[in-house]
């Protein structure tokens, strides 16, 4: 009843092409942002910030980046962890080597390092595609694993490759408390999500989607595959690199190369698949799902199995987690290839017609 667009007439092309054409959506998003920025910081505890909210916000940012490459441009990447690592260590080097370097420029420079790295390892995409490319991006992953472990220059000559940052501040405000970390990441996420949304609905986004749907046909109608693919790699790895820098700087504080292993690449791909390939909101759903599921399992699985008299160890929980992830991925691919975001939009579609189905 409430979710109806009757009477909301558009009189210009511009009004018709807004991000949120329906007034209720705009109100809902404004409310959501207000809750995220104002209510959540007042209610959430330190534990919830550190265990759920901050990882969720940063992973949503990374998933957004991966979605641009995988969901919008159709280039499967198993090397997202590498782009995160390059972003993190790039930002670290700028942060440490230039005294007085503010945080935000360091993050952006880290993102630019990741962009460069992404374009470099995106070059094979011009010659190979699909499955071959997925394997090619693994090269980026293993190369970065090795690079940050063995080349001491990148880690400022630390022995184990582990580094740390402290005294983070933005415009003179310290980023130390969980609340301030959360707000900082959230603000960045909102800005980047808005930029990304505008990018994918513009000319360049349509080029990416054309390449994804059929690259040969796209080339025939005059889309330059090289430009489209490399720009997708560049934008995606910039966002993923920034997320990596945030993950390292804000969430971890001190980290080592293993923090960005191939495991995190897979996780990011799962977020995109479960959340929804080729949709901006998909990254948020996927990240929420993948961040929250292990915590929920850890809390409830032992208790639940205890009802049947089965003891579940910590290892058992992590195995169960693997199985549930695996089963869910297959299930989503079979039943709903567009993920949670599609379910959400179907629900909205139904609401528009409710209570009359036709």
């Amino acid at each position: 009843m409430l979710y109806r667009e009757n009477g909301q007439f558009k009189t210009s092309y511009r009004a018709d092409q807004q991000i949120f054409p329906i007034a209720q959506d705009r109100i809902a998003i404004a409310l959501l942002l207000a809750v995220a920025f104002l209510v959540v910081p007042m209610l959430a505890s330190d534990y919830i910030f550190r265990a759920i909210l901050i990882p969720f916000v940063i992973m949503a940012l990374a998933a957004l980046g991966v979605n641009i490459l995988v969901g919008y441009c159709g280039q499967i990447s198993l090397g997202s962890g590498a782009f995160m690592a390059v972003g993190a260590y790039g930002a670290y080097n700028f942060f440490v080597r230039f005294p007085g370097m503010p945080l935000i420029p360091a993050l952006i420079l880290g993102g630019l390092c990741a962009t460069f790295f992404g374009i470099l390892f995106g070059l094979p995409s011009l010659r190979v595609k699909g499955l071959y490319l997925a394997v090619a991006t693994l090269a980026a992953q293993f190369f970065s694993d090795w690079m940050f472990l063995r080349i001491k220059w990148f880690t400022n000559n630390s022995d184990s490759g582990s580094v740390s940052v402290n005294n983070l501040q933005v415009f003179g405000l310290p980023i130390e408390s969980a609340t301030s970390k959360y707000l900082f990441c959230l603000a960045l996420l909102v800005v980047v999500a808005l930029l990304a949304k505008n990018l994918v609905r513009g000319a360049i986004g349509r080029e990416w989607m054309a390449i994804r749907d059929m690259d040969v046909a796209a080339a025939v109608i005059g889309i330059r595959p090289m430009y489209a693919k490399l720009s997708a790699f560049a934008v995606s790895s910039f966002i993923v690199g920034m997320a990596g820098a945030l993950w390292a700087f804000v969430h971890l504080g001190a980290w080592e190369p293993a923090a960005f292993s191939v495991e995190i690449s897979f996780r990011l791909l799962f977020m995109v698949i479960i959340g929804g390939l080729g949709s901006i909101s998909g990254g948020f759903f996927g990240a929420a799902f993948i961040v929250v599921l292990p915590i929920v399992l850890n809390q409830f699985l032992p208790a639940f199995m205890g009802l049947f008299g089965i003891e579940v160890s910590t290892a058992g929980v992590s195995h169960a987690e693997l199985m549930i992830f695996g089963a869910l991925i297959v299930w989503f691919l079979i039943v709903e290839p567009h993920g949670l975001a599609k379910l959400w939009s179907t629900a909205k579609q139904k609401l528009r017609l409710w209570p009359f189905p036709h």
């Binding site: 693994l138 090795w146 191939v262 199985m323 089963a327 991925i329």
Partner: protein, 309 residues
């Protein structure tokens, strides 16, 4: 010179084992167009089953002969792989017919996770050992030619021989039997094969079974070398550049690609590694495959893909 030859032979032996894992990838890709990322998980699963049953059977039945126990464990693990293949076809692949390669790849990623979790839930996640009685002592060759001779691991030689035998068997199976012909027909064109009455579903089950058995053999050999543990799945990650280099659709490609990667890895580690800090084996293989792809995107023996709009 002796040292170089030793490295070379070591590389060839390691390469033979990579080819064994790569073979699993190629078989499935050839017959169903699925890039089976789960091959590593299958190797782990099969090896875990084999290791545990070899341990359990003497306990349950009181058979003390290790040969009988290992043989029984091998048969049981093989049977389990058949069941796994059947389930994968029934639950996953059947529902994803005619989907894009990328979707199928991601589905096998899901299978990977599921099997890793399930394998460790069923069989435990400690380090187990498979002892099929392979001799571990090294042998010396060409004593007369070089000072001190060349050191070769006997275990490696046997493993390579098993791998070679398996490959020969598979080539005969593919070339001479009617099932093999049907498999090749399906690989060429799903629809055409189906229209002349080749049952697609059954073919897929067969292919995944064969890949399961190959995974079992690979798991057995790797397991007796390194012990059966979670890190066995990374063997598959090391076999990926082999498949890429050799071409996804070619059995000989998997073998020769494996040898090239094995040798390349060892030589680069020994002769190039010290200059850049060592540990370059794993990415060197990938970069080697990658550079090769830039010149020949379909791999060494792959079929040229022609795109049509």
């Amino acid at each position: 010179m002796a040292f170089f030859l030793e490295t070379l032979i070591g590389g060839l032996m390691a390469g033979m084992l990579y080819s064994l894992v790569a073979l699993g990838f190629v078989l499935i890709y050839k017959a169903s167009g699925v890039f089976n990322f789960a091959q590593g998980a299958m190797v782990l699963f099969a090896a875990l089953a084999m290791a545990r049953f070899a341990e359990w059977i003497p306990k349950w039945t009181g058979i003390s002969s290790p040969i009988v126990a290992n043989l029984a464990a091998f048969v049981i693990a093989g049977a389990i792989m058949f069941v796994v293949a059947w389930l994968i076809e029934k639950l996953v692949l059947r529902h994803l017919v005619n989907q894009e390669g990328a979707t199928l790849l991601m589905a096998t990623l899901g299978i990977t996770y599921f099997m890793e979790g399930l394998g460790q839930t069923l069989f435990g996640s400690d380090i187990y050992k498979i002892d099929v009685g392979m001799p571990k002592d090294p042998i010396f060759m060409l004593d007369s030619l070089f000072q001190g001779g060349i050191l070769v691991n006997k275990e490696d030689v046997i493993a390579a021989a098993i791998a070679a035998a398996l490959v020969a068997l598979l080539s005969v199976f593919f070339q001479k039997t009617s099932t093999g012909r049907a498999l090749r027909a399906v690989a060429d064109d799903h629809q055409a094969a189906q229209s002349i009455g080749i049952p697609l579903n059954r073919i897929w089950v067969i292919v995944w079974c064969v890949a399961g058995v190959v995974a079992l053999v690979a798991g057995m050999i790797w397991g007796s070398k390194l012990g059966v543990q979670f890190s066995l799945t990374t063997v598959a990650l090391r076999a990926l550049p082999v498949v890429i280099l050799g071409g996804l659709t070619s059995v000989p490609g998997a073998i020769i690609g494996g040898l090239i990667i094995g040798v390349g890895e060892k030589l680069s580690e020994v002769y190039l590694g010290p200059f850049v800090g060592g540990g370059i084996e794993i990415w060197f293989a990938y970069v080697l495959a990658l550079v090769f792809l830039l010149f020949r995107p379909q791999g060494l023996f792959g079929e040229k893909i022609i795109d049509r709009v």
